[in-house]
């Protein structure tokens, strides 16, 4: 299988402080790669670097096209949807407006309408709250909205930053079930950052463990899961 996303020697810095020191990351077409590591390892920064939200170095390509020198909004338009930590929904706008904005980069109006209905099928709770302000939703609903908004782009690759963060266990199970479905049924590839390694490794076919901006280990998810040393050192379970 060809990779849909490939980064080589990815570096990133916040001002003078370098956070990523040359990472190689791959997401297979239709695959799910989990990005694991302790707090402060640079997982979120990887996603930000891929979307050009921080100054980055190294090479990154998406479906064979270089992402170097592209602005965030252009990368998004290629079909990469990023669900940032803190969710990045528009709290002052309604659920419906958030969904419309998710499809902002698209021109096919009829298909957008159909997708809106489809996405609301995934998240019936959102459908009930379409006219409600996003900021008034519960944490789980906001996470659903963030994912729904990202799906409205009809992305080929979904970048997910801690989708389980701050959610009740039931809501987490819900969201991961939907992610699995989206990956299997719609063929959306995913790069997923997660604190909860068990969850992420269940969903992923591939895993990267990073430690302070360097790759500690990468390989098939099953291999990473079964590696006792890695598990104890980086995944703390």
């Amino acid at each position: 299988m060809a990779p849909i996303l490939e980064a080589r020697g990815l570096t990133a810095a916040y001002g003078p402080i370098q956070v990523l020191h040359g990472l190689d990351i791959r997401v297979e077409d239709g695959g799910v790669t989990a990005l694991l590591g302790a707090n402060g390892a640079g997982k979120t920064t990887v996603l930000r670097a891929l979307c050009a939200m921080v100054r980055r170095g190294g090479a990154a390509s998406f479906r064979g096209r270089s992402l170097n020198g592209q602005a965030t909004e252009d990368i998004v338009r290629l079909g990469i949807a990023h669900v940032p930590d803190g969710r990045g929904t528009f709290a002052a706008l309604t659920v419906n407006e958030n969904l419309r904005l998710g499809a902002y980069a698209r021109r096919d109006r009829a298909a957008v309408k159909a997708d809106s209905a489809r996405v609301c099928g995934y998240f019936p709770r959102l459908a009930e709250r379409r006219q409600q302000q996003a900021g008034t939703l519960s944490g789980g609903e906001q996470q659903m909205l963030a994912i729904a908004r990202a799906l409205m782009l009809r992305p080929k690759l979904l970048l997910l930053d801690e989708p389980s963060f701050g959610l009740a266990p039931l809501a987490v199970a819900d969201i991961f079930g939907i992610l699995r479905k989206i990956n299997r049924d719609d063929g959306v590839s995913m790069l997923i950052v997660e604190q909860n390694a068990n969850l992420a490794l269940d969903l992923a076919d591939h895993a990267c463990v990073i430690e302070t901006g360097r790759m500690a280990m990468s390989g098939p998810a099953a291999v990473v899961r079964d590696n006792e040393a890695v598990r104890r050192a980086y995944l703390s379970y």
């Binding site: 939200m53 602005a71 338009r77 990045g88 528009f90 782009l153």
Partner: protein, 290 residues
């Protein structure tokens, strides 16, 4: 009583002008958190463009629409060329840039059109409309034009994709980029929109206050008072504030302070709002975590 009502109604006309300019201020404030002190002078310059067009024989309403379009473009170009380089500059730097723009437009108008006061024609007939004895037809017309403009602006922001994207870009630039919105262009369009709204305010004000390069100084101050009174982060509050200030100004000018120091009414409102209720009547109070 009749005289009082007369003051109230003719206050509505200037109130409409303040409301428009206040809305222009809010459009830029929401996106950048800066008050564009050059908004008044930009509107004044737009009015000169309209005067120029009419002077060349263009019929009024065509000149009116053309001026709006030209002003929109000028606003966009100013954002792209002058404001953009200061995107991340400290607030004080941006204020200086605005004051620079103010001086430039003022001098440009004086140089191109001279500082002598010109009269500016009203598109409305001389007789009052529908036997309304409280307002001249230009005053009623100003209110009507302003309300029509407000309706269009509302429809644009509420129901169009671009309007939604502009609101999103103002609310949350980072998330906006993540859905593919070109935030820089949204800012430029915001500037264009503000300039176009200002142009309408200028063209409606000019028959009342006459056309000269300094015509907008006082008007901007009253508009700012209106925007602050209504809440500078709430467009409809700012519009309402503009109307309130227009009426207050007229009534206070007639009964309290006299026309000579009317402008101090604006200052009293500004200081009063900032002291008593900084978020304005309809603004949101923002609590920041430190």
């Amino acid at each position: 009583m009749v005289a009082f009502l007369h003051q109230v109604f003719s206050g509505l006309a200037m109130g409409a002008v303040y409301a428009s300019l206040a809305l222009a201020l809010v459009v830029i404030y929401q996106a950048t958190h800066h008050v564009n002190f050059a908004q008044g002078e930009m509107a004044m310059f737009s009015t000169y463009i309209a005067w120029d067009l009419i002077d060349r024989g263009v019929p009024y309403w065509e000149a009116f629409l053309l001026t709006i379009a030209i002003s929109f473009l000028i606003g966009m170009v100013i954002e792209r060329v002058v404001i953009r380089p200061f995107e991340r500059a400290p607030a004080l730097t941006v204020v200086i840039v605005f004051i620079g723009l103010l001086v430039i437009f003022n001098s440009l108008a004086g140089w191109r059109y001279s500082y002598t006061i010109k009269s500016f024609e009203s598109p409305f007939p001389d007789e009052p409309w529908f036997g309304n004895s409280f307002m001249s037809s230009h005053e009623s017309g100003t209110v009507v034009v302003t309300l029509a403009m407000l309706a269009l602006v509302y429809i644009f922001f509420r129901f169009t994709k671009l309007g939604l994207a502009m609101r999103a870009a103002a609310l949350n630039p980072t998330s906006s980029r993540l859905v593919g919105i070109r935030v820089g262009w949204m800012l430029a369009i915001g500037w264009g929109l503000a300039a176009a709204i200002g142009a309408i305010a200028g063209m409606m004000a000019a028959p009342i206050v006459y056309l000269d390069p300094n015509m907008m100084g006082g008007i901007l101050l009253f508009s700012l008072a209106g925007a602050l009174l209504g809440g500078i982060d709430n467009p409809w509050g700012a519009v309402l504030g503009g109307f309130i200030v227009g009426v207050l100004e007229n009534v206070a000018g007639a009964y309290l302070v006299g026309t000579e120091i009317k402008l101090s009414v604006a200052l009293i409102i500004i200081v009063g709002v900032l002291v008593a209720k900084p978020s304005g009547l309809f603004g949101r109070r923002i609590a920041a975590r430190v």
